[in-house]
Symmetry: C2
Subunit: 163 residues, 2 copies
């Protein structure tokens, strides 16, 4: 990490990096967004890799990823043919699209997965792999899980409106 960053930015970059790391995303991605979030001027790939001590490759893949998430935008800086990047500051929107692209598909898949599981359960019952008691037990537990699932599905749109 470069020493020439003001301490507040340095700390912010570190925090953003760690946050991404916890979310299972590349740390560099968070660092890049964090750096740009507190940069009044757009930065080039060289600036980014230099300030964060990242390789050119990481800066490139990271910015491209962030672009697909609509977390950054490219801006043209007159007199410089390099790409420059700016953070899109609207975190609310970022959160919303993040939910849309990230959570929601998984939630939907989990519902179809539950159907598969229930189908398998019946198949196991018929094939004799599961006793009557085990069948009933599993069915009850899966049903309980399904109700929770539907609650989450109902909650999230509400939360979305809350923002």
């Amino acid at each position: 990490m470069a020493e020439n960053l003001p301490s507040c930015r340095r700390e912010f970059v570190e925090t953003a990096g760690r946050l991404c790391q916890r979310l299972g995303l590349p740390r560099s991605t968070g660092q890049i967004y964090g750096l740009l979030y507190l940069s009044a001027q757009p930065l080039s790939l060289d600036d980014i890799s230099g300030l964060l001590s990242l390789s050119k490759a990481s800066a490139s893949t990271g910015t491209r990823q962030l672009l697909t998430w609509q977390a950054l935008k490219q801006v043209w800086v007159p007199g410089d043919r390099r790409d420059h990047f700016e953070a899109i500051g609207d975190l609310r929107e970022l959160l919303r699209t993040g939910y849309e692209n990230f959570f929601r598909p998984k939630l939907e898949r989990s519902v179809t997965k539950m159907d598969q599981l229930l189908a398998n359960l019946e198949a196991d019952r018929k094939s004799g792999a599961l006793s009557k008691e085990d069948h009933a037990f599993c069915k009850a537990r899966l049903a309980h899980m399904a109700t929770l699932q539907s609650r989450v599905t109902k909650l999230l749109p509400i939360a979305e409106k809350f923002f």
Copy 2:
């Protein structure tokens, strides 16, 4: 993974394992809970490591972790001096304590972190590390983030009641 598991349990175990993996938790942890969630009878450490093809060590650490999360309970099986484990089926409660122990502390820390950042910002301003414009820009962005933070803080208790 053992072949002697009925297909519905096998698939459930796999799904639970992957879910934990995505959440940044050990996969084995999810597998163990998944196995027990669909087991009408409590299982011993040997059963668990056998059915899941895990080492004794993994089964031990995994169950202990799950116990601290109140996701399992130990039950005594007469005539067997080994520990046996049962899944606690109330997923709602599990979710609630998970939020309490896992998310909430981080959310609280993020608030104090924000204070630190704002303090650093002022320090940088006074030391001349940040121009007046940069200072204003960063302050605005951090303020925006702080409002989002407080919204999340307000939302979560509401979501909790929803369940």
